[in-house]
Symmetry: C2
Subunit: 449 residues, 2 copies
């Protein structure tokens, strides 16, 4: 009796060619985060439930993979932020602040499986944690790094949308609607879906006066260039301290974003961005693909005042942002935006030894590998045609044949599998040819457009 | 009420400096496996219990993290081999054979926590899977890759010990002891710990005749150079078909290991290596640190005839080997064998802007980053002394100061934090100085000796 092999619904398992594209994305993330001086972290996927769920409540708790092993009540992490909070509280005295870390790892949520929503998914997070305080410039650096990440990946048509929670909360304070602010923001969030008229109706149903509903719609209706939006916000100044503070922060972040080299088309102030209710306290971000707003935010985050309040009395303000890598990859694939012209073969060169003694083949492979060329040595005793079929199937760019003639003459027979052109040259010339071809193949980015 | 932050016993969580050394190891593993034409795979950490435990029984099953979520009976993977078997059976028609893959990922076993044994641990596996058959040369290539991995990591005093299950099974067939072979091998495995006399006693207690016990001890006592051991095995030839086949394989693997460039001191035939009972069918490997045999094998594997027999009728022979990365890292750390002279700071350069406008600092950081230098921009408003304390604490090799003078004169003030030497040079000269210094710092390997 055989067991039917299967992979669980909602769990990602890529075929080799796609996995190589995913690896290229991961490598770009690691490299870029490192270039900005973020240190890599790796925390366990399992934590004590008591620790992981210290905050408790909410939608998330229902989705958690929680179980017991022996006497231990355990849970799989549902994001990388709570483990970071635990890490910083636990190792506080051994860390230097501001503590800049990146983490790329799997998180788990038992959501209802649906297209592009996964139960096991990669997140790629960066956070900057201060000890007691943290400069506002960090709130611009974080989205600037995200801009660089997408830039290096090849994604062009995206926009980081920025808002400030103090601006929002201050505005609702002005209207005397602080208590209802949460409900109002949830309604306002539907603006793009249901339109302004319907939002106004709903607000009035929620008990907001018609005047105030009008003011809210006027406020969230502020559009235009960043300069125009900030200019319009100036009109609200001087009425509420929190609002003024937030506007000042927002202006500083916008100024710094330019200083950090983010082009105007890649970031915009958007007053409808709110991001949850109780966690973020300053700048908030969401990132959209300009031509695919229906996909929702592909990278979100913001400023928080107290990372680890459930674990420590220390005040640890921070700012962080997270790319949902598994979901992004799924979307890019669906949209045909993954660059399949890249070399996704397991090797750059497939080496076919045509003589029994493997030593010269190993020697040749070693020379290529020492030059950074990935070589797969084909050791199977099969017909020539089967070997070439294999080369085709893995999509390897070059096949090198090593027969008695080549060994004797000290030359390398090398076939470009795309053009079909075959050369018989010395090692150095062959290496140059292979390198040139690979450089051309890899000059593109993983993401198209 | 605060929750005490803690990390579960048996789970690894490294501090930043150690994590960077771990990342260097991971990167070397990825690069080396890729250079040999292995494709990366990433399978879920959670599988349906029915699938993961298809084989059933044994010690492993008790250690498994198994739980239900909704109607699903789920388990965390306990190794990377069973998920590979599932993957190959499930995606058979979309793969090219021989299928060469590497996977570096976490696995889970609820073992009793003890020093160097972890409940969540990284394994780094390579396997080569054939469709129907697989050439013997693969059984030499796999340990040759492991030799390269350790070589690149800097580990020198290690030995891959090789044996062949057919030789062992054939030998016990000769003695008419096939039935007891399992028990005998388990006793023989204690040779190093309890000595030959005691092993002989135990064998006799197990019902082996004194003569045969003597023959067993003579057999496993065969020592010497690979040539000497193979020469001694020749004396047993011609009596058992399986033995003769195994000896032939062993000789071929030894010959190929030399051809694959593995020096004699790094591999040895060891007739006491057996590796479990029912899975491996040909060559088997264990790897020891020559000066720390007490640590046990740091990398093991072997040849198997039927990877996915629980899932498919297809015959899928393979050969694979696995490095227990978390355990190896723990041992290296315990032994003081991790190279702490390497740059383990989050950045190569800490950039301290001494003027309010951040733009020139960002511009300078960008030039360094485009040249591959990792730059952390320090944006906090703090006293100079606090900034330098931070630089010391993260152990950054260079600090760059950017004040009004430097901006005006277009120069870079750069301090080597180790020598204390400070220069004021143009960008290109500063970059060269930093690069030279980093190259020197990174010329060592992660593992010492």
């Amino acid at each position: 009796m055989k067991i039917q092999p299967r992979t669980l619904s909602g769990f990602v398992e890529l075929l080799p060619k796609q996995q190589i594209l995913m690896e290229k994305i991961m490598q770009t993330l690691r490299e870029t985060y490192s270039l900005y001086g973020f240190t890599p972290l790796d925390t366990p996927a399992i934590e004590a439930s008591e620790v992981l769920l210290a905050k408790g409540g909410g939608e998330t708790e229902k989705q958690i993979y929680r179980f017991t092993k022996g006497d231990s009540d355990l849970s799989l992490r549902f994001d990388l932020t709570v483990p970071l909070a635990k890490y910083v509280a636990l190792h506080y005295s051994e860390l230097a602040f501001p503590f800049k870390r990146y983490q790329i790892g799997k998180a788990y949520r038992g959501e209802r499986a649906q297209r592009g929503r996964f139960r096991e998914f990669y997140q790629a997070d960066i956070d900057i944690i201060g000890d007691g305080k943290l400069d506002i410039s960090n709130e611009a650096e974080v989205p600037a790094i995200i801009y660089q990440v997408f830039n290096r990946l090849g994604l062009k048509k995206f926009q980081v949308q920025v808002n400030n929670r103090k601006v929002l909360n201050g505005f609702y304070q002005m209207l005397g609607l602080s208590e209802q602010a949460g409900d109002i923001m949830r309604t306002v969030d539907k603006l793009d879906k249901i339109g302004a008229e319907k939002v106004k109706e709903l607000l009035i149903e929620q008990g907001v006066s018609e005047d105030k509903a009008g003011e809210i719609l006027a406020f969230i209706g502020i559009k235009g260039s960043n300069e125009e939006v900030l200019g319009a916000l100036d009109g609200y100044q001087g009425k509420n301290e929190l609002f003024d503070l937030g506007l000042d922060e927002l202006k500083t972040v916008v100024k710094y974003l330019s200083a950090f080299g983010v082009p105007q088309e890649n970031f915009a102030v958007n007053l409808t961005i709110a991001r949850g209710l109780d966690y973020y306290t300053g700048t908030v971000y969401e990132t959209f693909m300009v031509e695919h707003p229906e996909i929702g935010s592909i990278c979100s985050g913001g400023r928080y005042d107290n990372l680890a309040e459930y674990y420590t009395d220390k005040l640890l303000p921070g700012v962080g942002i997270s790319i949902g890598v598994s979901r992004l990859f799924y979307v890019l694939n669906e949209q045909g935006m993954l660059n399949e012209d890249m070399n996704t073969a397991p090797a750059d060169v497939l080496l076919l030894p045509m003589v029994e003694d493997l030593s010269p083949a190993v020697e040749l492979a070693t020379r290529f590998r020492n030059a950074g060329v990935r070589v797969q040595l084909y050791g199977e005793q099969r017909k020539f045609k089967a070997k070439m079929n294999y080369a085709d199937k893995i999509g390897v760019p070059y096949v090198v044949f090593l027969g008695e003639d080549e060994v004797r003459d000290g030359v390398v027979a090398c076939k470009d599998m795309k053009s079909g052109e075959q050369t018989k040259l010395g090692f150095d010339e062959t290496l140059q040819r292979v390198r040139d071809g690979l450089a051309k193949k890899n000059e593109g980015r993983v993401i198209l457009g």
